[in-house]
């Protein structure tokens, strides 16, 4: 155990990994704070690089970007009142009023410090929980694994969709797409139409580039004016590092945000926005006699959601690392980036490549530390980059999409596949159908089929095998609860709308 920890630490602390983490952090902050850019888009930009870099360096780069992107989203929310990421929406409620008061530096400083605390807390939880959960998951058999993957799919469907039917349909379309190519048990060619390009199936990273980047590139064209976003020049920036009085006021909301964010991050599909708003609400209820009212620039109103949305990152890595179940698009991309290097996230990763698994956890620690240092040291410069012109950035992303799709298998066919998924993403946006369940189905579909067929083959077609294992029953019950919950909330919101 000690050896493995030391190897993991050495992997994360290698100069190349540290440099990658720092670059990822800077890129993440910059991309996250540009309105209209998501962390997923940022990851797509660096994705081609990760195919050629060593896996430990790739994952360090991606983790830096993930953590940095969360903070960057809050910079835009605070400075412009436009959340760079959905998770940062709650931060804008008190962050922007503080900027309007002429305390931009104070608002950003509180956000940076709260993010760091939330991220660090979730990293600690990841370090403590992940190996134990992986140990438990090692005992799972095919029926348990099938039920677990099904749970992952149903949870994301219920959270991702305004309409639960559309969410499930999106996942079903994803499963239909994933059935293209050789089947995972017998290797029989399915839906390939005689094309050798389709024999190995649709690579989900190619699909992901199209699904996320093309609709964003096209959608942003409806919003452009002069090309630059907005000028950001606060009248006074003020001091950045929070005062002792601010630090004292931050303690409780940061504690609340860290716990809520980590817990909700572990639940697939719950995600940053829910965690941020819940923490904001809890902080409001527990804060007494604040000098500023919530919504008018309260320290607590920035600290709680900001710590929560960064704590979500570490929480989301727990099911991804231990069970191979990604809870959001970013962790889905991380799964894909690891699979490209032949490293399958899941309990076996902690057995076969424990050094690498711990290296990922330590890289996550470093990502949070670099985020703090880079954000505090370069705050005044970084904030100016909010006004970076899209006229260059967007076309650059467009050609990087082509590079990313092509370089996965050196295949021109994949470029067309990427564009097809771009059109599919636009169509789904028009039909108001969420793309996240489709993406998750692409990631989990093959596992779902494989475990289902292996379980049924082992039981000679007897489906009671799914109802005799305690783990399987637990996961199926949770899946049923999540579906019922989504149906009820969907009907409630439909009733409310009428």
């Amino acid at each position: 155990m000690g050896d493995v920890l030391a190897q993991g630490f050495a992997q994360a602390a290698a100069p190349s990994s540290l440099l990658a983490t720092a670059i990822g952090s800077v890129l993440g902050i910059v991309i996250g704070m540009i309105p209209g850019m998501t962390i997923s888009t940022g990851i797509i930009i660096v994705l081609p690089l990760t195919f050629v870099l060593d896996p430990s360096i790739s994952i360090a780069l991606l983790l830096g970007l993930y953590v940095g992107g969360m903070l960057g989203g809050s910079f835009a929310a605070i400075m412009l009142n436009i959340p760079g990421t959905p998770s940062a929406a709650a931060t804008a409620l008190d962050g922007h009023p503080m900027v309007v008061r002429g305390e931009a530096g104070r608002a950003l400083g509180i956000a940076v410090l709260a993010s760091f605390c939330g991220g660090l807390f979730s990293a600690l939880c990841l370090f403590l929980i992940a190996p134990r959960l992986a140990d438990i998951a090692l005992g799972f058999r095919a029926p348990d694994l099938f039920s677990l993957v099904l749970l992952g799919l149903t949870v994301i469907c219920s959270f991702a969709a305004k309409s639960w039917i559309k969410g499930l349909l999106s996942a079903a379309i994803g499963l239909a797409i994933v059935s293209i190519g050789q089947d995972p048990v017998m290797g029989t060619a399915r839906f390939t139409f005689g094309s050798p390009d389709l024999l190995s199936g649709i690579n989900f990273l190619t699909a992901l580039i199209g699904l996320f980047a093309i609709p964003q590139l096209i959608g942003n064209l409806g919003q452009t004016g002069s090309g630059a976003i907005v000028s950001v020049a606060p009248a006074t920036f003020g001091r950045v590092f929070p005062t002792l009085a601010d630090l004292r006021r931050m303690r409780l909301p940061v504690g609340i945000g860290s716990i809520v964010g980590t817990f909700l991050g572990i639940l697939p599909g719950a995600g940053g926005p829910i965690a941020a708003f819940l923490s904001y609400d809890y902080a409001r209820k527990t804060t007494k006699n604040a000098p500023e009212a919530f919504g008018e620039g309260a320290v607590e109103g920035i600290a709680a959601p900001e710590s929560a949305n960064n704590a979500v990152t570490g929480g989301a890595l727990v099911p991804m690392m231990t069970l191979g179940i990604p809870g959001d698009p970013v962790t889905a991309i991380l799964v894909g980036a690891l699979l490209v290097h032949g490293l399958a996230p899941g309990p076996l990763l902690f057995i076969e490549r424990a050094d690498f698994a711990y290296g990922v956890i330590f890289s996550f620690f470093w990502a949070n530390i670099f985020n703090l240092i880079i954000a505090l040291a370069g705050l005044r410069v970084l904030v100016k980059l909010i006004a970076m012109p899209r006229t260059i950035l967007m076309p650059a992303i467009a050609i990087l999409c082509v590079v990313g799709a092509y370089s996965l298998r050196n295949s021109v066919f994949d470029i067309y596949v990427m564009f097809f998924f771009g059109l599919l993403g636009l169509g789904m946006r028009w039909l108001e159908m969420p793309v996240v369940p489709l993406l998750l189905a692409l990631v989990l579909g093959r596992q779902l089929e494989e475990h289902l067929r292996v379980a049924l083959t082992g039981s000679q077609g007897d489906i009671s095998v799914f109802f005799t294992s305690p783990f399987s029953v637990l996961f199926l019950s949770l899946a049923a609860v999540s579906i019922v919950w989504s149906v009820v909330s969907s009907q409630r919101s439909a009733g409310g709308a009428r």
């Binding site: 081609p48 195919f51 050629v52 870099l53 305004k162 309409s163 039917i165 499930l168 349909l169 079903a172 379309i173 499963l175 239909a176 059935s179 089947d183 048990v185 017998m186 029989t188 399915r190 093309i214 590139l217 096209i218 959608g219 942003n220 064209l221 409806g222 452009t224 002069s226 090309g227 899209r390 006229t391 260059i392 076309p395 650059a396 467009a398 050609i399 082509v402 590079v403 092509y406 370089s407 050196n410 021109v412 470029i415 067309y416 564009f419 771009g422 636009l426 946006r429 028009w430 039909l431 108001e432 089929e449 289902l452 067929r453 049924l456 083959t457 000679q460 077609g461 439909a494 709308a497």
Partner: protein
């Protein structure tokens, strides 16, 4: 539309090989489950929209601006040119087109970035990371 997709998928599933061992699921098993799911969910969506319970009867307009359609057209023209002309040659006019569509009015900047960015990407990936990008039919 979704029902039609389900139907086509179901028809294609019929053509898949049968199971090879008794009482075990074959390669067509999972696609049949997906076909069933697609049909049931599409029907549910249809019923929901007919009963006016959901919001499907009021589809949002396809929010693609005129420039968005032009960008899609640029993609359609660009992608087949990548293997023929090579990444670098095809990317320069594509980049310039997108830069103009995104509202850049400085022509010099359009030309400079349209050349510099694709060249930079090509050099970094080709020589920095030894990644072979399409070089065109004549190279």
């Amino acid at each position: 539309m979704l029902l039609a997709f389900s139907g086509v998928y179901g028809v294609l599933t019929v053509g898949l090989p049968e199971r090879s061992l008794p009482n075990t699921p074959g390669p067509a098993f999972f696609p049949w489950l997906i076909t069933g799911g697609l049909i049931v969910l599409s029907m549910a969506l249809l019923v929901q929209s007919l009963r006016g319970l959901g919001d499907t009867e009021r589809l949002a307009p396809l929010l693609i601006s005129r420039r968005g359609w032009m960008a899609l057209g640029a993609f359609v023209a660009y992608l087949p040119l990548v293997p023929v002309l090579g990444f670098l040659t095809a990317s320069v006019p594509f980049f310039a087109t997108l830069t103009l569509l995104y509202g850049q009015r400085n022509r010099l900047l359009v030309v400079v970035t349209a050349v510099v960015v694709p060249v930079l990407v090509f050099v970094v990936f080709r020589y920095g990371f030894q990644m072979l990008l399409p070089r065109g039919l004549w190279l």
